[in-house]
Symmetry: C2
Subunit: 206 residues, 2 copies
DNA sequence: GTTTGCATTAACAATTTTGTTAAATAAAAT
DNA sequence: ATTTTATTTAACAAAATTGTTAATGCAAAC
């Protein structure tokens, strides 16, 4: 039947909304069922437990979060400066598109230590693959005197901090943001520009 | 009696631990009671409800978070560069001392929209008082050609992003951090230094 | 010593939340 | 058409969680 697949999808879509906004502890299976337009027994039929539904959502989100960094900085065939600039912008755009992603993943990893290991297995290799190539490029540029010498891991932490924090802390920095830019789009444009500027200056040879 | 005050304090201390690590939804009043060494009816006797205990904790944490920024940057009688450097370091140290603070406040504000307004009433004036003076100093320094001209709100967002993000996302960036510095203290020293460097370069006149 | 008021306990009530199942229904296969 | 399989519902079970109260203890005040 075709209905069944669509109901399963409806449940997952509703669960995504519920878990992302309220977290595992705050989420209610009955709310998920209601939002999906099914009885809550259907959740048991398709997924057996709240935990199972959550894992489906969480795994996907963890994957997307890793991807957000990996995808942004994997572009080859550019100058170091262009690669970084494009990487920062691309990463920023991704986070701006899914602003709830980092907070959700961080929280659920934090509140369940058993997920630490799983998270690290997924994040570890990703960072290796990015940093390896980038560190060599950085070193070569520094050798040629084109930029400052620095640890690429510190650089990546700078970039991610700048790109992600505004969105994580949005409810708190809102008064500051609202004053800074009337609409969200303007804020994102200005903020992205600022982040690129900060990183470029960090690397500039003095 | 003297016991009563100490029990009340024991409950609050246990509640702080419970709420900070698990959030409002994940916290269990019975766990708080156990950790405080009292029956759970005592919680009702002293505070009436879970909500009331939570508010006591939350209000205090919100206050501390505001203070972390305000206190760091209010020092007068220094050159702009020194004021910023000391401010960044002082703010970093505060967050490093209470690393769970930002995540807790952000999450609880996020999951309860009715707190947005309250938060903004507390954060808004604080930012005004800091940014007003700083923006003038910045402008004057820029007039003298000593530094780049920029919006102090963007600058503050840069600083707070760099100082806070590592601690919020610690469980995720751990593999990167562990590689970077063997112990926490070393990481904090390096990271603080990096954050100061980034901001100083951001302002340097080119 | 009795009374008064606060602190504490144990038992319980109410609600919520998740999980389960047997029966009903619809669809598909033979 | 009949059998078989998959889907759906309604009712229920079990556990957890918060909130409540009546009874008890206990120390200080009178």
């Amino acid at each position: 039947m075709e209905q069944s697949r669509s109901k399963e999808q409806a449940i997952l879509a509703a669960a995504e909304q519920e878990f992302m906004t309220k977290g595992f502890d705050g989420a209610r299976t009955i709310s998920i069922a209601k939002a999906a337009g099914v009885t809550h027994a259907m959740l048991h039929y398709y997924f057996r437990s709240k935990e199972n539904i959550f894992e489906r959502i969480f795994d996907e989100k963890m994957r997307l979060l890793s991807q957000s960094v990996l995808e942004a900085f994997e572009q080859q065939g550019l100058s170091l400066e262009e690669r970084l600039r494009k990487g920062i912008e691309s990463h920023f755009d991704y986070i701006a598109k899914y602003p709830g992603l980092p907070r959700f993943v961080v929280n659920e990893v934090m509140s369940r230590p058993e997920r630490h290991e799983m998270m690290q297995r997924r994040i570890g290799p990703m960072f290796e693959s990015i940093t390896k190539g980038l560190q060599r490029e950085l070193d070569e540029a520094a050798d040629r005197g084109e930029c400052e010498r620095m640890d690429v891991r510190m650089l990546m932490l700078d970039i991610v901090s700048l790109n992600v924090f505004s969105f994580i802390a949005m409810p708190i920095i809102e008064p500051l943001v609202g004053d800074l830019a009337v609409d969200r789009e303007t804020f994102c444009r200005l903020r992205k520009q600022e982040n690129v500027e900060v990183i470029m200056r960090r690397l500039k040879k003095l």
